[in-house]
């Protein structure tokens, strides 16, 4: 067994949260640059240029890329051979709190009934998974809710088929319009159960942007949906052009013979995430 102290987890999560707030990963920057170079609308091209400048200012001046620094969503993979001293849950929550405070990130979490802000951006939404080995991998996603609010889930009958699934994803993006800050990363979860589909859609956002799914038929579906979404002409910020989606990521899981759950988790162009292995 390898022992990891809660202090190390607190410090690691704190630094991860701060970095995620201000520094876009290279895959997102590359996608924005490529979109700008391939954009047909002059206005959309200008706006993409603004987003590239925004990422540069955010990183240099350590100003958040977007003021919506999100609800903190973390996927935590715990190696079976790891022993954590103290409470892992408490350590992660403390790291999130310190990261939002030290990073001057916006506190955006409130009670759903009273709407009173918790003031610490906690509790974070944490998904735990067990893995082989003696490490802990943390994926941190500060999820903005302009895009999160535009997400959707449906329980299709198997007769709807893949066509029904594609239509639902495209319609969800169309209905969202300019609200979720396109160009988007469209995360899709299909199969499993009600909650599994939603979780898969969120998990698909972990994949480096635009990296195709390992299964060829799913990779083709990703391309098909992306093309259909981009044909709609909403474009960057709903101002036109050919970049409503930067990428579509699908994750799939076997489902019940009676069921085809489909979840769409929409992510904005300010797709911030960080990963670290402890």
């Amino acid at each position: 067994m390898r022992t990891i102290s809660s202090d190390e987890i607190i410090a690691t999560v704190r630094d991860l949260v701060k970095a995620a707030g201000t520094d876009l990963e290279p895959d997102i920057l590359d996608a924005l640059v490529q979109a700008r170079d391939e954009e047909v609308s002059p206005l959309a091209r200008h706006v993409l240029e603004l987003f590239i400048a925004n990422a540069d200012i955010a990183s240099r001046e350590k100003i958040p890329t977007c003021q919506d620094t999100g609800v903190a969503v973390l996927f935590v993979e715990i190696g079976q051979e790891v022993y954590v001293e103290g409470s892992l849950e408490d350590a992660i929550q403390e790291g999130v709190k310190q990261g939002y405070q030290d990073g001057f990130l916006r506190m955006s979490v409130c009670d759903p009934i009273t709407r009173i802000n918790t003031g610490t951006n906690t509790p974070a939404v944490i998904h735990y998974e067990m893995a082989a080995g003696d490490k802990i991998r943390v994926f941190m996603l500060p999820k903005g809710c302009g895009s999160e609010n535009m997400s959707g889930l449906t329980m299709l009958p198997p007769s709807a088929g893949i066509g029904g699934m594609v239509d639902f994803v495209v319609q969800t993006v169309v209905d969202a319009g300019p609200n979720p800050c396109p160009p988007l990363l469209v995360g899709v979860g299909m199969g499993g159960s009600f909650e599994k589909a939603a979780l898969l859609a969120k998990k698909s956002l972990q994949r480096p942007l635009g990296q195709a799914h390992g299964r060829q038929d799913i990779a083709q579906l990703e391309e098909e949906i992306k093309a259909k979404v981009n044909e709609q002409g909403m474009g960057v910020q709903g101002l036109g052009g050919n970049h409503t989606a930067l990428a579509v990521h699908i994750e799939s899981f076997p489902s019940h013979i009676a069921s085809l759950p489909v979840a769409v988790n929409i992510q904005c162009h300010a797709h911030r995430y960080k990963t670290i292995t402890i």
Binding site: H46, L50, I57, P64, R106, N179, M234, L239, H269
Partner: protein
């Protein structure tokens, strides 16, 4: 004029607008106009709107006279030492739709956020000769550089949802709904 160290070409295409609006200025703007905003505006998002609405229900005065003003839907991130403000891009506007007609009746001249407005708000804008602009969502760091002063006006306990007064200099935006009832998102969709 722009305070940006790196200034994309985009800023060369903007129409200069001073705020609050002079007579006929908002009426002269058209859906699709790219504007550079300078001057005084007020801000508010969900909680500020809820509270303004409650004050009106109680027959009380609002913390500021919104007549002729622009109200920007934003919940900024905190300023670090030496900064005027943190990131300050727009939030999605439809959440303010149910409160907006009442504020337009009081003379509010413009709102700014991102995303489409309801038909009710569009009708109220046409009736009261008000406009709606979209700022660029997800460009909060860049937009923060176009804000030169920030004052807390009301609802401090709402944290990022409090009401502020901003001084803008060269803040870029797009006119979505003009006083004649045109909607730039609709125009964009119909062009495809």
């Amino acid at each position: 004029m722009s305070l940006l160290r790196y200034r994309p070409d985009f800023f060369d295409h903007l129409k200069e607008v001073s705020l609050p609006f002079g007579p006929g200025v908002a009426e002269g703007l058209r859906a699709g106009d790219l504007v550079s905003l300078s001057g005084t505006i007020y801000t508010g998002r969900d909680q500020t709107h809820r509270r303004l609405d409650a004050l009106l229900d109680q027959g009380k005065e609002l913390p500021v006279d919104l007549s002729g003003q622009l109200l920007y839907y934003v919940g900024p991130s905190p300023a670090q030492p030496g900064q005027v403000i943190g990131a300050a891009g727009p939030t999605t506007s439809y959440r303010m739709d149910q409160y907006t007609p009442r504020l337009l009746e009081l003379g509010l001249k413009a709102t700014m956020g991102k995303g489409a407005r309801s038909q009710t708000v569009r009708d109220a804008m046409e009736k009261h000769q008000a406009i709606y602009l979209a700022a660029f969502g997800g460009a909060g760091a860049l937009l923060s550089q176009c804000i030169t002063a920030v004052d807390l006006i009301a609802f401090a306990d709402a944290g990022p949802e409090a009401m502020f007064r901003f001084q803008l200099k060269g803040f870029p935006a797009v006119v979505i709904n003009d006083c004649q009832g045109a909607d730039f998102y609709e125009q964009t969709r119909s062009q495809r």
